[in-house]
Point group: C2
């Protein structure tokens, strides 16, 4: 299992998801939890550019993804983990908050789930939705 | 075969590609030609946000796509068609220019290739890279 907002899909997302599937071992099935618009608003104080339905559908269209589902309206990583019951949860290099909540929920519920942090990929490339947004905004400011 | 720039991938792209594969018939293989940065600069007078390598890799990561390759540096849809030799070429609703060039090349070379125009999908959704860019730029302008 992996999770994220996936607003403006980029190749860094794909590599994160490929690595998440790889750590699940041979024949692993990758389920991706896509954050609700309301959750993104609460946590990042910013509305995503793409709607939650579009973000979910685009993530599910990736070959590496077996299933993409929206999170709960009232965010709860613990309830998601109980619902999915994954063997492995992959967290991204920039998901410190999620990682803390995942570790807490797994410990509290006494679940046997491996938590794996996926490393960062190349910095040179545009592997950040925020950077992509800034670049677009700058291009539009120019006359 | 289908082609495009695919800068800021959205679900409209996925639906276009799914439809392109569908018109190819059962067991069709979908090859997607991704426009070079130089071609986009020439034709749209605008540099894509994502590099050609990233755009190609992201398109190829889609389940519906069997192969994604970059176009020629000096744009030539005729040479691409001769190289790929597709049975069907799908063009999008907003690819009038490409459709004209495809029809001209197929006729000139006397090739037996079916050209299919794919309809437009829902207008309500953000199925346009330009619209997505405008929306991002507007969000950033706000204080």
């Amino acid at each position: 299992m992996a999770s994220g907002t996936f607003d403006l899909l980029h190749f860094g997302h794909v590599r994160f998801l490929e690595e998440a599937k790889r750590v699940g071992g041979k024949d692993a099935k990758l389920v991706v939890i896509v954050a609700r618009d309301s959750t993104v608003m609460d946590r990042k104080a910013e509305r995503p550019v793409m709607t939650e339905d579009q973000r979910r559908a685009l993530v599910e269209a990736l070959e590496v993804v077996d299933e993409a589902i929206l999170g709960f309206e009232d965010f709860s990583i613990g309830r998601v983990i109980e619902r999915i019951r994954p063997d492995v949860i992959a967290v991204g290099h920039d998901q410190e908050g999620i990682e803390r909540e995942v570790r807490k929920a797994v410990k509290e519920k006494g679940l046997d789930i491996r938590i794996v942090r996926i490393g960062r990929f190349g910095k040179k490339e545009l592997n950040s939705s925020s950077k992509i947004k800034r670049r677009i905004a700058e291009a539009y400011r120019r006359p």
